[in-house]
């Protein structure tokens, strides 16, 4: 797979989608302020994805992740 080509294509698509939202108007189904901000959901998708990934990775690194035999080791000691 040509990584650079794919990336350029994805970027172009994303930007096109983001740009088009600036011009599109219609019935907003939300009542919150953010549903009236043009392009809000583009930022939302991008930053929420980054945020979730970093949050989860940090949670795993500093707290939740152990080596794969974590529970088996406990059992070996018991018996």
């Amino acid at each position: 797979m040509n990584g650079k080509r794919t990336f350029q294509f994805a970027l172009a698509l994303a930007l096109a989608v983001g740009a088009e939202s600036l011009f599109l108007s219609g019935e907003h189904h939300g009542t919150a302020w953010w549903s009236n901000v043009p392009g809000f959901f583009a930022f939302f998708g991008f930053f929420v994805c980054l945020g979730l990934a970093f949050f989860a990775k940090a949670l795993g690194k500093h707290w939740l992740q152990r080596d794969e035999n974590y529970y088996q080791r406990g059992r070996a000691r018991r018996d």
Binding site: L24, V48, L52, R66, R78
Partner: protein, 584 residues
């Protein structure tokens, strides 16, 4: 009135499978759910099947739009699962799967608490059996933890049901108010709905099940609980919070996971969160959304488990860190996987798009803006893990020497069918909405909504492209709430089981030794005074037990000669006396 329980074809299939010839079993395996589906289409909403029991009238079957919606999709996915497992020659797995499906259908048509409870427990046992049929790796232990969790949940549910029956004097399964018995019942439902912190059984056990078994597991337990919540607790504010949190919880844990079926399992938790939140909001639109999402979810999640299972079946590997570059060997599976992955991500033209946003839209309508936004966050996380990370690292990841077995035709057929159904739902949402509880007034393909969805998905994809090197799968285990009982288990086993066992064993030995001594004493009470002569030392009959000598009456009996001497002497005496004392 109807004459037959909707679950009957499935339960009958489970019971007759062992009796039919081996070659016919796969056909019966597919036919039973198909028959159940046909039976459902013949039912009219409003029909009931009752059975008098003690002083109650049990409602074995109550047909309405809500139970029919769940019934259709349950039998449909059971049929797809059976086609997927057509190659199986494992009677145990086939019977367990049909029994499990039958019990799930039984739950959604149960009109009273007792019938619900009986099917609820059959479901727990059959699903645990299905996990055990993997007979490999961790399946035994994970299945046992699963069974314990569900039996405990079932016990709490039963307590609530008894309390409810006592308080209301009726067994009818209807909406509960938030009085006393509602709490244990809610807790019992929450266990099966996998609402954190009662969820760890799901991600623990589903990936350990056999490949076909996990397709069935992904469909029934949690969604039967969603049905029960929709029936018993619509509009409960607690569920709005719980549902939103679980949608996020599943997503965060899925990002950390490495096992492909465990990633999908955490996304069951997340997706069920949408349904639970919808039920909590409780408006017509929200309940529709919850039901629609359960319907679509069962179909696309079944498809995802089929595709992930096909990868496991073909490669024998299940971890992202051990998979990679399968695009050359399993391209067809990727195509079907993406149908499921894009559905769950809410991609336009597919089933998730017309169901997921129904819940979000209902939240917006009911001014739960933050709920809608947080469900949007969960949606981004879903696309990240299931739509991007999993397929990227499985099919395009680093090149490894992976030998792949061929995938049975049945697996491909089931995946193709499931993909087609997901596509059909996405293309014709009006037909899909027709099966729902209330009439639906929602246009998923409004231009602005399409645009918003496209923005979210496109920019999530873009963010993943930047992140992809940091997202490299790591062979690690992620602690979850199960840490509490898996860590506590050795301690509990040591102190509650082993110590008590040792004590019992010691008491046992002591009692036996006492009894043995008592036996010896009973056999020879004189041994107590050690009156034994030297005979026993020469006895060779019981060399191991030199002191033991059974009582022998002869030993303490005088010789016969002595008795004769005494008798003779007596006669001599008599003779003498008669001689002297005889009258002359």
């Amino acid at each position: 009135m109807i004459d037959l329980m909707p679950a009957a074809p499935l339960l009958a299939g489970a019971l007759t499978l062992p009796l039919v010839p081996r070659a016919l079993r796969p056909w019966l395996f597919v036919l039973s759910p198909a028959l159940a589906f046909v039976l459902l289409t013949q039912l009219d909403p409003g029909a009931t099947l009752t059975w008098p029991f003690l002083r109650y009238e049990l409602v074995l079957s109550r047909v309405d739009r809500l139970s029919l919606a769940f019934g259709y999709v349950f039998t449909l996915v059971a049929c797809l699962g059976a086609i997927y497992g057509f190659h199986l020659r494992d009677l145990g797995q086939q019977v367990a799967a049909l029994l499990y499906a039958g019990a799930a259908v039984g739950v959604v048509f149960a009109g009273d608490w007792l019938t619900l409870y009986v099917f609820w427990e059959i479901m727990a046992v059959a699903s645990a059996w299905l996990i055990f049929t993997a007979r490999a790796g961790q399946s035994g232990q994970a299945g046992m933890r699963y069974l314990f969790f569900h039996l405990l949940g079932g016990g709490v549910l039963l307590a609530g049901i008894i309390w409810q029956a006592h308080e209301s004097g009726s067994l009818a399964f209807n909406r509960l108010d938030s009085a006393g018995p509602a709490w244990p019942i809610l807790l019992g439902f929450a266990v099966n709905a996998a609402i954190p912190p009662l969820h760890p059984w799901l991600a623990d056990a589903y990936p350990e099940a056999p490949v076909t078994g996990s397709v069935f597991l992904s469909a029934f337990t949690t969604k039967a609980a969603v049905y029960a919540l929709a029936r018993g607790f619509p509009g409960s504010d607690l569920l709005v919070v719980a549902g939103t949190l679980m949608a996020l919880y599943g997503v965060v844990f899925a990002i950390l996971e490495n096992d492909i079926r465990r990633i999908l399992s955490y996304h069951i938790v997340s997706q069920v969160g949408y349904m639970v939140a919808g039920i909590g909001i409780g408006t017509e639109a929200a309940l529709n959304g919850a039901t629609a999402h359960a319907f679509a979810h069962i179909l696309y999640k079944g498809l995802l488990f089929m595709a992930a299972g096909a990868v496991v079946h073909a490669t024998g590997r299940r971890k992202l860190s051990e998979l990679g570059d399968l695009i050359g060997s399993l391209p067809g599976v990727l195509v079907f996987y993406m149908f499921g992955a894009l559905s769950i991500s809410g991609f336009p033209l597919l089933s998730g798009f017309v169901s997921k946003w129904l819940v979000v839209h209902a939240a917006e309508l009911d001014h739960h803006d933050w709920v809608a936004l947080l469900l949007g966050v969960a949606s981004v996380g879903t696309f990240l893990s299931v739509g991007l990370k999993l397929p990227y690292f499985t099919w395009f990841g680093p090149r490894r020497a992976i030998r792949t077995d061929s995938i049975p035709l049945g697996m491909y057929s089931a995946m193709a069918l499931a993909s087609a159904i997901n596509l059909a739902i996405g293309l014709r949402p009006d037909l899909f909405y027709h099966v729902l509880f209330f009439a639906v007034d929602y246009r998923p393909y409004a231009p602005l909504h399409l645009m918003e969805t496209a923005e979210i998905l496109a920019f999530t994809g873009l963010a993943f492209w930047f992140l992809r090197r940091r997202m490299n799968p790591k062979a690690a285990l992620t602690l979850d709430v199960d840490w509490f009982y898996r860590k506590a288990a050795p301690w509990l086993r040591r102190n509650v089981v082993l110590t008590v066992n040792d004590f019992f064993a010691a008491m046992d030995a002591l009692t036996l030794a006492g009894a043995r001594q008592l036996c010896r004493l009973g056999a020879n009470p004189l041994a107590l005074f050690d009156l034994a002569d030297d005979n026993h030392r020469t006895s060779k009959r019981r060399p191991t037990d030199a002191k033991f000598r059974p009582y022998d009456a002869d030993r303490y009996r005088g010789p016969v000669g002595v008795a004769l001497l005494i008798i003779l002497g007596f006669f001599v005496l008599l003779l003498g006396l008669s001689l002297f004392m005889s009258p002359r």
